[in-house]
Symmetry: C2
Subunit: 131 residues, 2 copies
């Protein structure tokens, strides 16, 4: 199967698939003409990777998850540890963003947004946080 069709099936752009080969996540054989000849197992791997990335796992996490996926004697413990750590980081990021959103939405609400120069947004950015 050529890269274009694999891109269709896996939902990943061809460029990304080549990149994943570069960094050793997949290793499709080549046809006589030099084209990558993807096997079903490669397509499965790539789809797995696409779904893992869509859940926000880093490439290194994906590499580890892939290894665990392929290891039929793995302990679900090891998978759970990765996922839980990732979940913790996501929650931290959500909290950060929510704090930004809360601050910003107040500022946007309070800014007249007209032709006058007075602006609570700039005021906030110019003022050191209260000690």
């Amino acid at each position: 199967m050529n890269i274009g069709e694999v891109a269709q099936q896996s939902g990943l752009p061809p460029k990304t698939i080549r990149y994943y080969e570069d960094i050793g996540l997949v290793n499709p054989p080549r046809d006589a003409n030099g084209y990558r000849a993807f096997r079903d197992s490669d397509v499965h791997k790539l789809s797995f990777l696409g779904r893992s990335r869509a859940l926000g796992f880093t490439i290194e996490d994906c590499r580890n998850l892939l290894a665990l996926w392929e290891d039929k004697t793995r302990a679900s413990h090891d998978v759970r540890v990765i996922a839980k750590e990732h979940l913790t980081q996501i929650e931290a990021k959500i909290a950060d963003l929510q704090a930004m959103r809360d601050t910003l939405s107040v500022l946007v609400r309070d800014c007249a947004g007209d032709q006058r120069p007075d602006c609570p947004i700039l005021q906030k950015l110019e003022t050191p946080p209260a000690p």
Copy 2:
């Protein structure tokens, strides 16, 4: 004022301050020995930048906000547009992350996390989404 003290006062690492000079956000003069000689206005700018970055504005946003801040004839409208756009993007990102978190927390909850290989997390990653 030397870079170390500016770093203390602004909360930005010296490396970051040099980088901001590189990309033209500040432009401190130099002493005879080549050291950067920051003025109060530079420190104010850097603090402004630190607070803007902490609210998640991109460097380009910061550049524009800085220009507006220094332009005493600005229209608050222009500031508000930048902030509102940014707020929208933050909200989109929060929504993305919340979707990931929701999926992941179910998976983590349902995974035994013991020595057995069965793992709903890997199952989910291996299974195409229902059509």
